[in-house]
């Protein structure tokens, strides 16, 4: 017993006291900012491996961006990645970062039904489905529950059965082979329920967007309640996104 107590003592306090206020240190790449600097727009656009950059005005679509940082390496005067990890939103258009506009990415609170806040505000149980995920978003979703982040303190937990769940968190570009299992899981969750896309692969297909091995048809028929960009998103991005949705 004494040994155990010593171990706990040596480990010290590891949990992050306030997850809504903590910042992730650089060189973490969070929300990008695009200056008004004039650069070779074509070259900037072409350097992006994910076709996330469009021009006139220059903008980065975080639904497609995988935060590789290439644009910022090539055009440091034009693109800068801040360490702002608050990237999740419920409106896909909010994921478009335009040049000269350096505002935060937020949720459109007016679009969230009141019921969501009252029913899930203090207890949210989620079912996770990996549909072709590469195990990186899954890795960070797991980390959300560890002793550092301890998302459970807000009543947010992952559960084993869709019948016990209030929503589904999808990771991966939705492989053809998982499409049906995902639909069955979603149908099994009782209403009101949330549909959450976690990671660039889930939001847009990511680097696999053009692959013939996907089947993203379910996504056309379901209203998405939260987009969590990143490859993978940082646990703080995930947790703050969820909190802003239900609190």
């Amino acid at each position: 017993m004494i040994k155990e107590i010593k171990i706990i003592q040596h480990n010290g306090k590891q949990f992050i006291p306030d997850l809504t206020k903590t910042e992730v240190p650089y060189p973490f790449r969070g929300r990008p900012e695009i200056s008004n600097e004039k650069v070779d727009q074509k070259a900037l656009q072409n350097c992006c491996p994910m076709a996330a950059i469009s021009v006139n005005p220059v903008s980065i679509n975080l639904a497609k961006c995988n935060f590789c940082g290439e644009c910022a390496f090539r055009f440091p005067e034009k693109v800068k990645f801040t360490n702002d990890h608050r990237l999740a939103t419920n409106k896909i258009k909010n994921l478009l970062v335009k040049e000269g506009e350096n505002h935060k990415i937020e949720l459109d609170q007016s679009a969230i039904e009141k019921k969501i806040k009252t029913v899930f505000g203090r207890s949210l149980k989620l079912r996770q489905v990996s549909a072709g995920g590469d195990n990186s978003c899954e890795f960070e979703l797991n980390a959300c529950g560890n002793a550092n982040f301890d998302m459970g303190r807000y009543g947010i937990e992952f559960v084993a059965s869709p019948r016990h769940a209030d929503g589904v968190v999808v990771t991966g570009p939705v492989s053809e082979n998982m499409a049906e299992a995902l639909r069955i899981t979603w149908d099994a969750v009782p209403a009101p329920k949330l549909f959450i896309l976690c990671g660039v692969d889930a939001i847009s297909g990511g680097i696999f967007a053009d692959s013939a091995a996907l089947n993203r048809s379910l996504l056309k028929n379901v209203k998405v309640d939260l987009y969590i960009p990143g490859n993978p998103p940082h646990p703080l991005t995930i947790i703050n996104g969820l909190l802003n949705l239900i609190k």
Partner: protein, 507 residues
């Protein structure tokens, strides 16, 4: 290049060869050569695949010779006018079973003599599309006494999908069969379809997110080889540092999750916290906790600076102090020992027979470790001594992680004591000109085991074929064997003790 007997080309790890220099053998010669080579204990098959060429299928087999650091590349051509039928080599060399199944699934080639050419992953570009992922032909036993338990594809918890089918006699598992394929995203096809180097690099990073460094290193290895770029040893050392950090991080997390499964909360929590230390270091180096964007071809955007070195020293000593204290207690707990000891044993003979690699081999007395047997320049300069354990049970897999963490830390310390990171490494190459009509193979010892990437170029140096092999390709079979004659409730600890990749297998 050419070997004396001219039956095969001989490569070193990360080497390349003109495809014209690989002798094309008749299937008779090819199979007798492959079988003769693989009957020697020092050899094992690292890759075996077929790809379409004009008028037929070209077969490539890569056989690694561990004693002399060689990789033999053998080839064979099957014209489309001939019956698409080749005598199976699996009865002689069991480890080839999965490769033949894969070739059968992709190209429709029949292998008479193969015990059962089951689908591997229901790949989108499979030859026979009439069979869907739900139609997998499971092995069954007719009996009134037995029952089957099916689990998945969606599991309890945050974990990738796969279907496990147990045949049980009461609580006792007679047979477990694992069906994968749910995660198939068309990785190899995407690799060919994407045109820029960076896009392909990102595909490699996405093969398996928990092995981001491992797979992207293998990718960089084949690309640099095909482009004829010699990277500086210092860059290879920096990459190996990232690789060892990935190993330490995942091993620590696996120890933590094994503690969870025996309800040892102190271990589960604190090992989990210790992993955070390591991945946060990786983030402070490259901006991403999993090392995405760290590995680029021909150079790096995140040189390992002296400041990194100082911080890594600090991180490691903080980690090690706590790890040792906790491990000292955990590994002696009677409740842990009782639960893990003598359970889920895979014998040395079985491990060899099914061709296990990496940890799944080393826990069963089989030395398979690319860092020692086919070292990259970093491991040539700073030798790594593999850890091998004799027993092959859950406890061995649990213990192996602890020992490998210790070994990796010692290796990292040696590097940081001796390597002078005076000049920052080069920046990455934007585009490459690849040698035309060539083949390159890269082997990397990821934390799970041997990763093999093979790339072939066509005329004008265009990428013609890309083959990826995750260690899980072999090792899932070991989990199936582990479960025989255990109770079904022993599945979770066995599963976690391997922690195999679904997406790396499904591609």
């Amino acid at each position: 290049m050419g070997s004396e007997n001219k039956k095969y080309a001989v490569l070193k790890n990360n080497g390349s060869v003109g495809t014209a220099e690989i002798p094309v053998l008749s299937y008779n010669e090819f199979s007798s050569e492959v079988v003769t080579l693989l009957q020697k204990k020092e050899n094992h098959c690292v890759t075996y695949f077929a790809f379409p060429e004009v008028n037929g299928l070209k077969f490539i087999a890569g056989i690694a010779e561990d004693t002399n650091h060689n990789i033999f590349v053998l080839s064979h051509f099957l014209p489309e006018t001939k019956p698409q039928k080749l005598e199976s080599l699996t009865p002689k060399i069991n480890a080839l079973h999965i490769f033949e199944r894969e070739i059968h699934e992709t190209h429709g080639v029949d292998f008479p003599g193969h015990p059962w050419l089951k689908p591997v992953r229901f790949a989108h570009n499979r030859a026979n599309k009439s069979m869907k992922v739900n139609d997998y032909p499971f092995y069954t036993i007719e009996s009134d006494e037995l029952h089957e338990v099916g689990v998945g594809p969606v599991h309890a918890g945050i974990i990738e999908p796969g279907h496990f089918r147990f045949i049980c006699n009461g609580e006792n598992v007679l047979h477990l069969e694992i069906q994968l394929g749910w995660q198939h995203r068309g990785v190899e096809q995407t690799m060919l379809e994407k045109q820029t180097l960076l896009q392909r690099n990102i595909v490699a990073e996405s093969v398996a997110g928990d092995t981001t460094i491992g797979h992207s290193l293998a990718f960089a290895g084949v690309m640099e080889s095909l482009a004829g770029i010699e990277i500086k040893t210092q860059l290879d050392v920096e990459r190996a540092v990232a690789l060892e950090l990935e190993r330490i991080a995942v091993h620590t997390a696996d120890i933590s999750s094994l503690c969870t499964d025996v309800a040892y909360n102190l271990g589960a929590n604190i090992f989990g916290i210790l992993r955070t230390l390591i991945i946060n270091f990786t983030q402070s180096w490259c901006g991403n906790r999993l090392g995405k964007s760290m590995i680029r071809v021909g150079g790096t955007n995140f040189p390992f600076t002296n400041e990194n070195r100082i911080r890594l020293f600090k991180t490691l000593s903080e980690y090690e102090k706590q790890f040792v204290e906790l491990a000292h207690l955990t590994y002696r707990l009677p409740s842990v020992e009782n639960r893990f000891d003598d359970i889920g044993t895979v014998s040395e003979q079985q491990a060899l027979q099914i061709g296990t690699v990496g940890m799944a081999a080393r826990m069963a007395n089989v030395l398979r470790d690319i860092r020692a047997t086919h070292p990259s320049p970093a491991y040539e300069k700073y030798n790594y001594t593999p850890v091998v354990l004799p027993k092959g049970d859950v406890f061995s897999r649990f213990l192996l992680r602890r020992k490998e963490i210790k070994q990796s830390i010692a290796w990292l310390r040696e590097v940081m004591d001796n390597e002078e990171f005076l000049f920052p490494s080069d920046t990455p190459k934007a585009e490459l000109k690849l040698k035309p009509l060539s083949l390159a193979i890269s082997l990397v010892e990821g934390w799970r085991g041997e990763i093999c990437h093979t790339a072939l170029t066509g005329n004008e140096g265009k990428l013609a074929y890309y083959k990826i092999k995750d260690p899980s390709m072999h090792n899932w079979k070991a989990l199936e064997l582990s479960l025989r004659n255990l109770e079904i409730s022993d599945f979770p600890i066995n599963n976690k003790s391997y922690n195999l990749s679904y997406c790396g297998f499904d591609l």
